[in-house]
Structures are given as C-alpha cells and as structure tokens.
Symmetry: C3
Subunit: 155 residues, 3 copies
C-alpha cells in the first residue's frame, strides 16, 4: 500500500473540489499540468467509444480561457456547487505518474436555496506526481446523458 | 493510528463500489471470503434485533448465484448505480481481522437520465485481512424501510 | 504529507458523523474540547462577514444542554440523519493544532421512509490534537440559507 501516493492524490481531488465550490475558479487551471487536458463526457459515449466530449480543453491557456468566459458570461441564475468525492482508487503507472478512479456527486444550490442532485459519475485521471500532484488528464464521465443547458462551472 | 489497515480497508470499499457501479457484477463475489456473507437489512429491524434481512447470501457460490440470476433476469428498466462511501471507521479485532463501519449513499440513474437518491445507510463489516482484505461479513443497514420492488443490484 | 495527522482528523470527522447518525447525541459533546465551540451559519452570512450564526454553543456544558433539550423536546416527526463527509484538507497550524476544511452532505430520512437531501456545505474546523483530536472550533457553513424549522439535530 503506497500510503503517500494515495493520500496525496486524495488531497489533489479535495483541493479541486474546494476551488470550484468556493468559486475560486482561477485556481482551477493550476491543478493541471501545463499541457493538462480536461474532458467531460457521458457514460454512454464512453461505453461506445465515441470520442464525443461534452466539453474539451487542453493546456492551461485553454483552461484559463474557459474560466475567463465564465466570469464574463451573463449567468442568469447564480448557483453554487458542492462536490463530494469518494471511492478513490489509485495505481502507480510509473515513477512519475499515477492513475486514479473516483466517484463524484455534485450538488447544485440555486439562489433561492433549492438544493438538487446535479450530477454523478466517475473521475478517471492521469496524474503527474512531481513537483506536486497535478492532473495531466482529467476525464469526467457523467452517469446521465442529460445535461443542463447552463452547464457552465467545471465539474 | 494503523495507517495501512485504514487505507487498505478503504481501498476494499472503493473496489466494491466500482465493481457495482461499472456493472462488473462478476467481480463482486471475489471481494468476499470463500464463506463470506452478505446481508441487507433495515435500521428498524436491526434496532429491534429482528433477524429479518431483506436479502441474505452466504458463501461465494450463493453470491455468484445471485449475480447469475440478475444477469438472466428480465430487468425492464435499465439502471445504473453510483456509490458514495464516507466516514470509514476501522478497528482491528485481532491479527487477521478488522471491523469497519462506514456510511453509504447510493444514487440511481434511470435510463431516461433521471437521477435520484436511492438508498442511504451504514455498512457494518467484518474483514479478513490476509492474503488481501476481503469481506467475511458485510451487513448493509438501510436507513429507509421502503424498498423498491426492483431491488436487484447489490447495494 | 503528514499521514497520521490527515487520517486522525478524518477519523474524528467519521466518529462525529456516526455519533449523530446513530442517535448517540450524548457522545457528541465529547468530540469537542472543554471550551470547544460549535456554530452553524450560512455561506451568505459568512461571505458578508456577518457574525450571525443560526446556532451557537460554546463549551461542553452548553453543548450538553443542547442535547438535553433535544431529548426532552417534543419532536413531532421522528427523523434520522446520514452524514457524508468528503474532500478533507488538513493543515497543521502548530505543534498541537490543525485546521481542517471538508465538504458535507446530510441526508434526512423521515419516518415514512422518505429520503431527502437535507443540507450541504463546508465544515471549517480548528482541532486540538492532544491527547486525542477534538474540535476546538467547528463552524458549519451551510450552502442554502433556507433552514427547516425543525433544525434540531446538530449538523
């Protein structure tokens, strides 16, 4: 059991969750490597091998772009997310890289106070370990193929 | 703090969750010892000491049987689960055995994309540690006494 | 990575969850230091710096008082909670103290069996580490400003 590997990957997932949930979106690209990629897809597309992501961004500049456009967008309905991450399985791929699979659940809190189960699924990640753990690739595989049109904040 | 014990039990729970959520039901009996038992009950029955499980299976052959009948059953409405496991408290019972209590939450995703809170409760486990951690006994204590008639996939 | 610190704080959070979920409310004050404080507030008030907690208790006697009044209160609708805790980030403040931020989700199970998403938010804690980890301060920051009038059991 690689204790340090397990806990440092869990810590990366936790920091990711808090960056989004606390609306510190500008911190989000920093959790990826310089060329790190981020992809949201559905379980259905993934099972069929369809390379049809709902959203795709590669490299920190593109991730920052996405945050910038979110900041400038006119989101009519203010909302907040709450991420729960669980069942984190980590495997070392080589000296400097690990693979992680984890379950997630995202709660969405609307301005009026309504709270709803927004999204669930799996994070499948390739993680560069040095100098500190960062996502070289994060694939967000959502259970439901139904997407809210306001899918704005990263999952 | 027995670090390795804690993390290896959490890893067992994580592998359990992923086996069910990824529809790898055939892997599920392997997470139990040869004579391992699996029982679903309700908090109400458990509090009253009623030995009235909603479901009971003892030994891998019986666990495999259950999977086989699920595979052959005519489930009208395809569904998927997503397990969240949290608050894992592990105590060593003796050299080769541990006890674990954990909270769970199971999300159910229907074919149309609807996502609902399906079940919550506690896992109370006796775990055989060698050669690798496996359930000698898993008791699933559901908070709600209401059960969906389609209660098919293990919790 | 301070492995023992991380896991012993996670264990405190887990014991907290189980004390409440198993209706062992009398164990709850023991998880705080003698002068430990407990505060429930909303994300909105916290963001505005409003010192307006929904609930405040300081010191074990006051925490015990709260439990006693809950036990004597006429709660019309029996209910149960299920706590999920995730994304636990722990930082050491000094030799004897740590800070923890974690996400939570509380499920509420009504007597009839209905299960609902009751509350989500963040735990922000100051933890005294010796002789064993205890809350010197727990702040429960709820995402929603809507509170059920029956807000009775601690979150």
């Amino acid at each position: 059991m690689e204790v340090n590997l397990q806990l440092s990957v869990e810590r990366l997932h936790a920091r990711y969750a808090h960056a989004l949930d606390a609306d510190r979106l500008e911190d989000w690209p920093q959790l990826f490597t310089e060329n790190g990629s981020y992809r949201i897809t559905t379980a259905e597309n993934e099972a069929r091998g369809l390379p049809l992501p709902v959203l795709y961004a590669e490299g920190r500049p593109m991730l920052r772009d996405r945050v910038a456009s979110l900041r400038h967008a006119n989101i009519y309905e203010p909302q907040r997310y709450r991420h729960m991450v669980s069942a984190v399985v980590v495997e070392r791929l080589d000296e400097g890289t690990a693979r992680s699979v984890a379950n997630f659940l995202v709660i969405r809190i609307m301005e009026g106070g309504d709270t709803l189960l927004f999204s669930s699924g799996r994070y499948v990640d390739r993680i560069a370990l040095a100098p500190e753990p960062r996502y070289a690739e994060r694939v967000v595989i959502c259970d439901s193929r139904r997407f809210d049109t306001l899918l704005a904040i990263p999952l």
